[in-house]
Symmetry: C2
Subunit: 128 residues, 2 copies
DNA sequence: AATAAGATTAAGAATCATTCTCAAAAGGAG
DNA sequence: CTCCTTTTGAGAATGATTCTTAATCTTATT
């Protein structure tokens, strides 16, 4: 456990949920100026391999890192990219019996509340 | 409807399901040498906007294009990247009532049969 | 504490899918 | 046919991530 890896992990624990590598890099650099971006990426990969964090792959956007290890789904807003957790509540088990395979991850695309409001405003359906 | 757009659409209709832009480009070039890669990307975007095809964003891999427009989920194998369709069977409706939002897409990560067999072989659990 | 072997780092180059740029070509209306 | 708009082709630009390499830090062994 090197000093930089410790710093990186602290950044993840104390920062907001679902940080990007770049955000983690910024936060780590604030605590330890001189850390290299590559070091952050390398350690994030190692931490994922060791089950310390979970990597959430997002198409057309940087990956996000999740410190919550218990199984849960993710809801991704296609408008703004907001990512939020969603309890499985047996959803994974239900899908597993349907497809006959273990569900490793589940990503749902749905417009978030903020973007839905924003869209309604643009259409003039709501007074700003 | 330009000649290249027609060619690109034909490539999608006659080729395998879930082609990547590069695969579509290759197929289109076989039918019409000289098409530019950028033209393929540009037209794929337009075709998505017009609801002619559906773009499936995949993290750490090129996007795939789906000619099947009826709603269905996708199962992605994290080992080999294989992508297959999965009927919704009310899964979307169930999630919608849970989260209170319209489900636009659903991506399930699960190891495919081929990779599962491969892994068992590597562990010596099956004779090759 | 000295040293050798191995792991890890910092910095920047390389990669790869995709988008952007822009001059040239094509298409369409009259 | 001619003007005007749209689309094309070719390659440069982008952006997240990985790779490369020499230098630095650890650690075990003495």
């Amino acid at each position: 456990m090197t000093r930089q890896r410790q710093t990186i992990y602290e950044a993840i624990l104390t920062g907001p949920a679902h940080m990007t590598a770049e955000e983690i890099y910024e936060s780590a650099r604030a605590r330890m100026p001189g850390v290299a971006r590559a070091t952050v990426y390398r350690n994030l990969s190692l931490m994922e391999r060791d089950g310390q964090v979970r990597r959430i792959g997002v198409a057309h956007a940087p990956d996000r890192y999740d410190r919550t290890l218990s199984p849960h789904a993710h809801i991704l807003c296609p408008c703004c990219g907001a990512l939020e957790d969603c309890p499985m509540d047996g959803l994974d088990a239900w899908i597993q019996t349907r497809i006959g395979r273990l569900v490793l991850a589940l990503q749902i695309q749905a417009v978030c509340g903020a973007c839905r409001t924003e869209r309604a405003k643009e259409r003039g359906e709501i007074e700003t």
